[in-house]
């Protein structure tokens, strides 16, 4: 990156995500149509769980009523505490572990899931204060959680995930299915 093309516009400059993260996807999480999650995997194996742009929450001008990290009587993701370099104490999650429940103003409810196995490092508390972040910047400031997979599993966790092309394939099949006369 010695010399920069100063005529670059927003379309040419690779973003932080483009430079350091790989996008993976899970479509129709737990069988629920279009509840797609996007997992941003950093080159250091840390994963950021976000909503894919196709997720229902981000459609039809929905607004958010509440976000709840209390997923059961005994477990709140907000109480997750990790300490030290080895991140001891973080809740260990499996693919279908719920991260939070989001209720929209039109009374629709959605559960966001972990999508991968690993140790929960943090959940995004900024969206509790400013739920709009989730709607406006779902791929960056509106992230849901940060998860650290086990070192041995850092490659294998992507086996169950779709890459960008595969995901776009599935999405395009949905639109064509919808446009079919029933």
């Amino acid at each position: 990156m010695e010399s920069v093309e100063h005529e670059d516009t927003k379309t040419n400059a690779p973003s932080v995500i483009d430079r350091y993260y790989t996008c993976w996807y899970r479509a129709d999480m737990k069988g629920k149509p279009c509840e797609d999650h996007c997992i941003l995997q950093h080159s250091n194996r840390i994963c950021v769980i976000t909503l894919a742009e196709t997720h229902p929450i981000l459609q039809n001008g929905r607004t958010i009523k509440s976000i709840n990290y209390q997923i059961s009587n005994g477990c709140s993701r907000l109480e997750n505490k990790v300490s030290g370099k080895s991140k001891r104490g973080g809740q260990f999650l499996t693919d279908f572990a719920p991260l939070c429940r989001i209720t929209c103003t039109d009374e629709t409810e959605y559960t966001i899931y972990s999508c991968i196995r690993g140790r929960l490092l943090e959940v995004n508390e900024n969206i509790l204060e400013t739920p709009n972040l989730l709607l406006e910047k779902p791929s960056t400031e509106g992230y849901i959680a940060v998860i650290l997979p086990k070192f041995e599993e850092s490659k294998s966790i992507t086996e169950n995930l779709l890459n960008r092309d595969e995901f776009e394939n599935i999405v395009s099949k949905r639109s064509s299915a919808q446009s079919q006369p029933s």
């Binding site: 991140k87 400031e141 650290l148």
Partner: protein, 547 residues
């Protein structure tokens, strides 16, 4: 007076000790040690001579009990003849008793015979020193040591000789001490274990002068020298001698994490201090058993570390600080530390190095200005004296070797100086220039307010890009001041002066909103950092070297 005629300051009370130890299989020099002889020259006598005199001394029944010390001269034939005669003499019993020599009622026929046998030459390996004070302690060994030193081709004025002995020597020493303890007590005297001259000391008394001679006069000092020549003795044959202590004093022997033996010298000494005499005698032979071989010596040279410091510039955006290796494969060619270290290692002829700096920058970041302070510990340098001129020359060599880095103020520093460098990492300020991209188009007026922001406090969560190897935490850091230089509608240069430990990249792009406030929020647009340069590291160490 040559060495062989030095006085052995032996006393009457030493006779039973000498008797018992010689018959037990101790060499002449070890016998001297147990007699607490602290005259260094006594140990430098030829062992055969020392043995002869010891034997003469104990067989000397003609000596008055009133005489305190005996001067022994190997040329005194009259005395030797007498000694020989008294062995086989048929003195009537009463005469012997009247003389009250050290030949006490304990002496038996066998002991006398054993003493006669050892007259023929001490070919047996000593049961205590395992040969260290016998054949392994003399001109041959001194020549070997000198050769090892010369082979290393070191630069030095003095050297210190250090000796490492196998732990079982303590056990054998303890056994011999118990063996003569009874004798000593019967005389109403006390032989404190600490009064016995240590094998190490005797070895050094003998060898230091010899090594000096073989090295043509280089002083072998006793206390401190930057150059250490260590002689390590091992004796696998008797390593098991210590093992019984693990059962009798288990709390002295903690299992080690490495595969190394748990029977360290320290642990064995501790156990011997604790174990009661009766218990020791139950588990270990007294006197110790006769070994069949001598110790094996190994000579190693080590020069104390030398520290070289300076400041470095980095002009390349694809150079890591340290070698970047994943799964045994190098991911990026070379590194800052390798480029700096190579010429220095070669000039100082060192075995290795430890590189540290006052903070560090990412692979893609340049370090401009007067550079970042660094210091290198050079391990076992074979050459350690360098003049200011030579250091300047070395600096020039480094700078000629690569256009990716440059060093300045290269100098030799003390070990203590390293802490000055590390304090910079925590306390001092740094300055940067970043090339910022903005998503929305901007004009000059849009960014001018940034120049007025002073002492902006950031809350930075551990950036995601380092979170895999750092603890998760929130760090408060200050940006003291900023200034901008407009470039075009989507780019500008941002200069920052910040507290040490501030993550600049994350301030610019926000790191998923985990650094607050961040430039995206201030400018109300997505921003990203395209380039970063370190302009200055405000640590005033090492002292500048005038050109």
């Amino acid at each position: 007076m040559d060495e062989n005629t030095v006085m052995l300051p032996l006393k009457e009370k030493d006779k039973p000790i000498i008797q018992k130890l010689l018959s037990a299989g101790c060499c002449a020099r070890c016998v001297l040690r147990f007699c607490c002889v602290s005259v260094q020259a006594a140990y430098r006598k030829q062992p055969e001579e020392t043995l002869k005199e010891l034997q003469m001394f104990i067989n000397d029944t003609e000596n008055d009990k009133c005489q305190d010390s005996v001067a022994l001269d190997s040329r005194d034939d009259y005395k030797s003849k007498d000694a020989a005669e008294s062995e086989t003499s048929e003195d009537p019993p009463n005469k012997r008793a009247k003389l009250e020599t050290s030949i006490t009622d304990v002496q038996s026929e066998e002991e006398a015979a054993a003493v006669v046998k050892s007259k023929d030459g001490d070919s047996r390996v000593c049961v205590v020193c395992l040969g260290i004070l016998q054949g392994l302690c003399g001109t041959t060994q001194a020549i070997k040591i000198a050769e090892a030193v010369k082979a290393g081709n070191y630069e030095f004025d003095t050297l210190v000789l250090s000796v490492s002995l196998p732990a079982q020597l303590c056990v054998r020493e303890h056994s011999c001490w118990l063996y003569v303890k009874k004798e000593v007590r019967e005389k109403g005297l006390v032989l404190d274990k600490d009064d016995v001259i240590q094998v190490k000391e005797a070895f050094k008394w003998i060898m230091q002068g010899m090594v000096t001679k073989e090295l043509g006069g280089i002083a072998v000092v006793t206390k401190v020298s930057p150059f250490e020549v260590s002689v390590e003795f091992t004796h696998p044959e008797t390593d098991a001698d210590c093992h019984f202590l693990a059962a009798t004093c288990p709390d002295c022997f903690k299992p080690t994490k490495n595969k190394q033996s748990v029977f360290t010298r320290m642990a064995v000494v501790k156990a011997l201090e604790k174990i009661p005499d009766a218990k020791f005698l139950k588990h270990y032979p007294c006197p110790p058993t006769q070994p069949t071989s001598s110790c094996s010596p190994q000579v190693q040279c080590l020069h104390v570390s030398v520290f070289v410091a300076g400041r470095y510039n980095k002009f390349c955006r694809s150079l890591p600080q340290t070698p970047w290796v994943i799964d045994g494969e190098r991911r990026m060619e070379s590194s800052v530390e390798e480029l700096i270290a190579a010429p220095i290692l070669s000039a100082f002829r060192a075995d290795g190095f430890n590189f540290s700096s006052s903070g560090r920058e990412d692979v893609d970041v340049r370090t401009l200005g007067n550079g970042r302070p660094f210091a290198m510990e050079l391990l076992n340098p074979h050459k350690s004296r360098f003049s200011k001129e030579q250091m300047k020359q070395l600096q020039e060599t480094i700078n000629q070797s690569s256009d990716k880095i440059k060093v300045r103020d290269l100098q030799i520093v003390t070990r203590e100086a390293m802490s000055r460098m590390k304090e910079g990492e925590e306390e001092k300020t740094k300055s940067y220039t970043a090339l910022v991209w903005t998503q929305k188009p901007i004009q000059r007026e849009d960014i001018s307010f940034i120049d007025d922001i002073k002492d902006l406090t950031l809350d930075q969560k551990t950036p995601l890009r380092v979170l895999h190897r750092r603890a998760l935490a929130v760090r408060q850091r200050a940006i003291h001041s900023m200034s901008t230089r407009f470039l075009d509608s989507h780019h500008f240069y941002l200069r920052l002066k910040t507290q040490a430990g501030t993550y600049i990249k994350e301030f610019v792009h926000g790191d998923f909103g985990r650094t607050i406030p961040n430039l995206c929020q201030l400018l109300k647009t997505d921003t990203d950092i395209l380039e970063l340069d370190v302009e200055s590291v405000d640590v005033d160490w090492p002292p500048p070297v005038p050109e």
